[in-house]
Subunit: 341 residues, 2 copies
Amino acid sequence: MKGKATSFDIAHHAGVSQSTVSRALRGSPLVNEETRRRVIEIARELNYKVDKNASNLRAQQSSTLAVLLFEDPTSDDSQINPFFLSMLGSITRACAKEGYDLLVSFQSSSNDWHADYAETHRADGIILLGYGDYIDYQSKFARLLDTDTKFVCWGASVDGRPELTVSCDNHLGGRLVAEHFIEQGRTNCAFIGDASHHSPEFSARFNGFEERLQESGKHVSERKVATAISTEESGYQATKSLLANDIPFNALFGASDLIAIGAIRALQEVGLRVPQDVSVVGFDDIAIARFCSPPLSTVQQNTTLAGQMLVANLLNLIAEQAVDLPNSILPPKLIVRQSSQ
Amino acid sequence: MKGKATSFDIAHHAGVSQSTVSRALRGSPLVNEETRRRVIEIARELNYKVDKNASNLRAQQSSTLAVLLFEDPTSDDSQINPFFLSMLGSITRACAKEGYDLLVSFQSSSNDWHADYAETHRADGIILLGYGDYIDYQSKFARLLDTDTKFVCWGASVDGRPELTVSCDNHLGGRLVAEHFIEQGRTNCAFIGDASHHSPEFSARFNGFEERLQESGKHVSERKVATAISTEESGYQATKSLLANDIPFNALFGASDLIAIGAIRALQEVGLRVPQDVSVVGFDDIAIARFCSPPLSTVQQNTTLAGQMLVANLLNLIAEQAVDLPNSILPPKLIVRQSSQ
DNA sequence: CTGAAAGCGCTTACAG
DNA sequence: CTGAAAGCGCTTACAG
């Protein structure tokens, strides 16, 4: 009878009805403690485990969340941004703590999302992760809202539904970087990333950065901004193109760590020293940042907290409870390492 | 009727029986093509999706695999070894390609594994990932075998069941590193890792390394071996303790990249230059290896292939088909970077 | 090729 | 506190 026992088997052995077995095992108060003990004991002996498919079907919920990790369309297929991998880790832990299983799926952001986890009852809700095109997303969000799918999103905000988003205070993060450069007297700044409205997170970082600079009477010249997606290679190429313009700068803000690391490679390649000639700061604080050369200054996002909040907010949404908006914006923290001092 | 349609609804609209709807949607040949087209069309209109809980329950299988990532008991809770994260990525892709969903769970290797994914029918099979204590694992493997759970394991072999393992040829990997050191005339070697039988992968790397050295009439003195688990900090500490012995060496093999990176930090801290004074090679080729300072030479494991094979072998196991053993050992590849030349 | 029916293994009103 | 019964939404023999 290896791994095959059903609640009827337990009921038979315990001399009670199958309903009672179910109640006892689910911790229902409607069951005598002595009976419960006996049922639990027998269930253990027979190595009985509740069949999740059956209980999910009956209870019309799956106790499972799904995380969709969508990748930049042009990014290297094999390399996932370590930042999101780290988020994935904290989401996994947060789910486990809440007694939920976690389904993981990678999606290329160019395709339609396989968002039918909810519709097929495989998951009660969905967590969306990824840097991508904001404009592109809104229609996909609309489809999710249309099918009444419960979801929360990291970073990109959903039109008119701020409670569906958890994000870092990217604007403040950008300000912190500018402040740091100002303190060092490095105000001839370049920015590598995407300052357009296609990348809400990157542009918020840029806007905060620019805002703080302007408060000091400085600003980032348009000619010192180059567009890049969040990969090392893209950061490298964008910086190369900037250097080709032959316009000097003494500080560079990369919209993500991967971009900043690529930028450092491009700078070093033409003989510029980091930080002596150009001070470089990234964003994310991925594990690599500590170990690259020179160690990278960056704006840290608290992924542990982020994962917990994504899960907590999603579970609230599923339970149809109000989600506490103000707490869903996490504070960034500047980490100064050698690349900027 | 948003997202609520059942197969009966489709049947009603299409003027056929519910059985026919099910057959049509599952691609059964027992259905007229014209009928099928109509059913599919109506299903799309009504945004009907098959309820996975119901179909799983009825068909007694879940089309889901679970991956258990167990972590070194002493490793930092927040940081998962990037190597396994990368494996996780390739497993996720491989699953998707096979039409399977993937559940992810982190387990601390000290605890009992929550291996009841199979018993509760949440997953058809389990993939085990992690560096850990081999001795400790055998009893856990025994329990899985006992409950007739389908599983495959990365790295650590299961007593008497070689077909359940996919791994890198760690012994050959160790040989490659020794060969590289010999070519450079760096044969006064140290090893940081765990050469005991508790860590089968690490000790295989060590044994291959030692074997090749001995073929050249050299060997690793016991006093130049220090034990470490796969974290940067542990590699750092182990190297410190080795340096404290004041026995010189001019080459160091770290059993994993994280260990090697910690070793480099320890070496540089006491003023030893890498690679001029000590040549360093790691194992895994995690993303960080390319970016650390100096860039780390290492033995690359093909995680994409590894993920595919783990999934393929597990699916074979589930289908009760013979698993092709010889192919389950992947070739390692030496990547030479600055840290060793 | 199609339909009526059984049944997967639970949860949960309903009735005591 | 307990039991008999209905039913979650499918898949799949069985009978045409």
